[in-house]
C-alpha cells in the first residue's frame, strides 16, 4: 500500500475535526462532506481541505459515501465513531469498491458486533464475560433454572444492540418471560434479529475499558485503561486515565485479556474492550468497540501517542510496531464532554445558537471541537459542543486544574453542563475515586444545588447588566465609557 493522497471523512463535528488534524499532520488532503444546513457555518472550520456540500443523511448512506470518495479521488474513508463506523457491510462495500476502510476488517466488526458471539469468543480466550447465558435452544424451565443460577436481577439484551437500546431489567422471576417476549420483539424491530441473551445485572458497577491497537501481522498492544464510570442516561460524560482503582497488576491482567480477544478475531487498528468492574475489583467482559472512541484523547495524553494517526498509518501499511514494554503511562488525564443540555431539566438537549464561545487557553489543556461563535446547534444533531481534556502529573492536580478549566470555558447562548461537571469533580467521593455508575443519582442533592455564584450576587449582576450595551447582531464587548445616565427616574423618555 502506498501513501494516501486524499481521505474522505465520513463524519461531522469534533471527530471530523480530529481526523482532519491527523490527516493534515500526515500531509494528506482531507475531503469533507458537509450537509447543506451546516455548510455555511462550518465552512471556515476546515481550512486547507476539500469541502463538499451534500444532502442530509449522507453519513448513513454507504453507497453515496463511496461514490463521493471515488469522484474526489480518495484512496480511503475514515468513519470516525457512530454512523457507519461499526457497520460490517459498509466496511465490506469499501473493500469491494477498492477504497480502504480505516478500521478493522469487516469480519472482526461482525464478530464483535454480535454481543452474544463476542461473549462466547471472550470465554474461549479466558476472559469471563458478565455471568449470563444464551436463550438459544432452551425451554422455559431451563431458562428459569439458568436465571436462578445467575441470580436476579438480570438484564435481557439484544445481541445486536448497544448503548442501552433494546435492554430490559428483570427484578422478579414472574416478570422474566414477559420481558423476554418484549425484548425479542424490540430486538426484531430495531435490529432485525430475534437473538437475545440474559446477563446478570451488576448493581452500581464501574465501567473500565482497555484501549488496544493491533498492528499488522497479529500483534496487539494495550495502552492502559480508561475509567468511564460517570454517566448520565447511559452516556459517559467524564473519562479518565489511569483509573483510580486499577493498579499495575490489574492493568496487566485486563490488558492481556483484551489483547488476546483482539488477536482471536484478527483485529487490526484501534479498538476498545469494555469491562464491568464490581465492588471487589472483579472485571467482566462487556463488549468490544471496533472503532476509535470519543474518549480516546485521555489515552493519547497519558501514553504520548496519536491513535488516529496510527489508524491512518496502519491503513497505509506504514505504521511502525511498538512493543508492549515501550508503552508506559505518564501523568493523569481527564476528559469532559461539554454538551448543550440542561442538567437541571433531566439533561434535555438545549439546541440553539452559540452567541459567545471562548475555549480556555491553559497549558496542558486540549480542546476538541468543531464549533465557533455564531454556530447553531440543530435539534436533530448530537448536542456535544466540545471535549476538553485536562492533563497533569497526578490525579489530584489534574482535578484541581480541571475546576479552573471548566470555569474558564465560555459558552453563552445555549445551556451547557459546564457548571454541573464542575460540581461532579468537587464532590469528595469523586476526589477519592469512590464512584460507580449510580454516582449522579446518588449525589443529586449535592450536584444540582449551588446555583448561586459565591463571588457575585444577583443584585450585583443586575447592576452590571445596566452597563452592558446592546449594539446589534453580534455580541459586542463594549461598555459605555462615558455613560450618559438619563437620571433614571422612569420608563418613558
Amino acid at each position: 500500500m502506498s501513501k494516501f493522497e486524499r481521505v474522505l471523512i465520513a463524519n461531522r463535528g469534533e471527530i471530523a475535526k480530529r481526523i482532519y488534524h491527523a490527516l493534515r499532520d500526515l500531509n494528506i488532503t482531507p475531503v469533507i462532506p458537509i450537509v447543506e444546513r451546516e455548510f455555511e457555518q462550518t465552512f471556515d472550520i476546515y481550512p486547507y481541505a476539500i469541502l463538499l456540500k451534500v444532502e442530509d443523511g449522507i453519513f448513513l448512506n454507504g453507497e453515496r459515501l463511496i461514490e463521493i470518495a471515488k469522484e474526489n479521488k480518495c484512496q480511503a474513508i475514515h468513519p470516525g465513531y457512530g454512523f457507519l463506523a461499526e457497520n460490517a457491510d459498509f466496511a465490506r462495500l469499501c473493500e469491494q469498491s477498492g477504497i480502504v476502510f480505516i478500521g478493522p476488517p469487516a469480519n472482526s466488526i461482525e464478530l464483535m458486533g454480535h454481543k452474544e458471539t463476542a461473549r462466547v469468543i471472550a470465554e474461549k480466550c479466558g476472559v469471563s464475560p458478565v455471568p449470563g447465558f444464551s436463550l438459544k435452544g432452551l425451554n422455559e424451565k431451563q431458562i428459569l433454572d439458568r436465571a436462578r443460577a445467575v441470580g436476579l436481577p438480570v438484564l435481557i439484551k439484544a445481541s445486536l444492540g448497544g448503548g442501552g437500546k433494546g435492554m430490559r431489567r428483570v427484578e422478579n422471576e414472574d416478570e422474566l418471560f414477559e420481558n423476554i417476549r418484549i425484548a425479542r420483539s424490540e430486538s426484531k424491530q430495531y435490529f432485525a434479529s430475534e437473538d437475545i441473551f440474559v446477563e446478570k445485572y451488576i448493581k452500581n458497577p464501574r465501567h473500565i475499558e482497555i484501549q488496544v491497537f493491533s498492528f499488522p501481522g497479529g500483534r496487539t498492544v494495550y495502552l492502559g485503561e480508561r475509567e468511564c464510570t460517570i454517566q448520565r442516561r447511559h452516556q459517559k460524560i467524564i473519562e479518565e486515565s489511569p483509573s483510580p482503582i486499577v493498579d499495575e497488576d490489574m492493568r496487566r491482567r485486563m490488558g492481556e485479556a483484551a489483547c488476546s480477544l483482539a488477536d482471536t478475531v484478527s483485529y487490526v487498528g484501534a479498538g476498545t474492550v469494555e469491562f464491568i468492574v464490581d465492588s471487589d475489583r472483579n472485571f467482566y467482559f462487556l463488549e468490544m468497540n471496533t472503532r476509535i472512541q470519543v474518549e480516546h484523547p485521555v489515552t493519547e495524553m497519558v501514553y504520548g501517542v496519536d491513535l488516529v494517526k496510527w489508524q491512518i498509518q496502519e491503513a497505509m501499511g506504514l505504521v511502525v510496531t511498538v512493543p508492549q514494554d515501550k508503552i508506559k503511562p505518564n501523568g493523569h488525564a481527564i476528559e469532559f464532554r461539554i454538551y448543550a443540555e440542561d442538567p437541571e431539566n433531566n439533561f434535555m438537549p438545549s439546541p440553539g445558537r452559540i452567541l459567545r464561545y471562548v475555549e480556555p487557553k491553559i497549558p496542558g489543556v486540549r480542546v476538541e471541537s468543531a464549533v465557533k461563535e455564531g454556530y447553531e446547534i440543530f435539534p436533530d444533531f448530537d448536542p456535544m459542543i466540545a471535549k476538553v481534556i485536562v492533563f497533569d502529573s497526578n490525579r489530584e492536580d489534574c482535578i484541581e486544574k480541571a475546576k479552573r478549566v471548566l470555569d474558564e470555558f465560555i459558552v453563552l447562548g445555549v445551556k451547557t453542563n459546564l457548571a454541573f461537571l464542575k460540581r461532579v469533580i468537587e464532590h469528595v467521593s469523586f476526589l477519592k475515586g469512590d464512584v460507580d455508575t449510580g454516582f449522579i443519582e446518588k449525589y443529586q442533592d449535592f450536584l444540582f444545588k449551588g446555583k448561586e455564584n459565591p463571588l457575585f450576587s444577583s443584585e450585583e449582576i443586575a447592576l452590571l447588566s445596566s452597563q452592558l450595551k446592546y449594539t446589534g447582531e453580534k455580541s459586542p464587548l463594549n461598555c459605555e465609557t462615558e455613560p450618559e445616565y438619563p437620571d433614571i427616574t422612569g420608563w418613558l423618555p
Partner: protein, 165 residues
C-alpha cells in the same frame, strides 16, 4: 428605575450612577457598588483587586447572557409592556401588575367592563411620571383591586382581565 430578572429573580434597580469606574446603585432598595474596568474592548469587574473578565451577549429576545467567574447568568430587563402584565398573560386571564410602584390617579374601568386591546385601564404616577396601564388583550374585567388615590407596590395585582374568546 428598572427591573431586571437575574436567573429568575426580580431585582429593582434604582439610582444607578457610575463615576471613575465605581458603579453604584440601589438594588431592591439596598445600596451596592462594584468596580468596573473597560480596557481594549473588554469589560472587567474588579473584586478585591482582582480583574475578572465579563463575557456577555444578547440574544434575539433581548436577554443578556453573562459569564462571570465560572457562572452563567441570564438577565432580562423588563419592558414597559411586560411590566404592564403583557409578558405574563395566560390563555384565559391577565393579572395586571403596576409597571412600577406608585400612586393610582385614575381608574377607567369597573368590574364587568368589557375592554378592547390597548384600552387604557389605569393612569398612575410614579416619580412625577404619569404612566398609562393598558389592557393586553380584549376581555372582561373580572376583578378590580385598586381605588383612586391609593399607592400600589411592585408585584401587586391591580386588575384581573379574562380574555374574550
Amino acid at each position: 428605575m428598572a427591573k431586571y430578572i437575574v436567573n429568575g429573580r426580580e431585582i429593582t434597580l434604582e439610582k444607578v450612577n457610575r463615576k471613575e469606574g465605581v458603579l453604584k446603585g440601589f438594588a431592591n432598595e439596598r445600596e451596592i457598588e462594584i468596580e468596573v474596568v473597560e480596557q481594549n474592548g473588554m469589560v472587567f469587574v474588579k473584586k478585591r483587586g482582582v480583574l475578572i473578565p465579563v463575557f456577555f451577549a444578547y440574544d434575539n429576545e433581548q436577554n443578556l447572557h453573562i459569564h462571570l467567574n465560572g457562572s452563567v447568568f441570564m438577565v432580562h430587563k423588563k419592558t414597559i409592556e411586560e411590566e404592564a402584565g403583557k409578558g405574563e398573560i395566560g390563555n384565559s386571564g391577565g393579572r395586571i401588575e403596576p409597571p412600577m410602584p406608585g400612586k393610582i390617579l385614575k381608574v377607567f374601568v369597573k368590574e364587568g367592563s368589557e375592554v378592547e386591546e390597548n384600552q387604557v385601564l389605569v393612569l398612575m404616577e410614579s416619580m412625577k411620571l404619569q404612566v398609562e396601564v393598558k389592557a393586553p388583550f380584549k376581555g372582561v374585567i373580572k376583578k378590580l383591586n385598586i381605588n383612586e388615590g391609593q399607592t400600589v407596590g411592585a408585584g401587586e395585582v391591580m386588575v384581573e382581565i379574562e380574555k374574550s374568546v
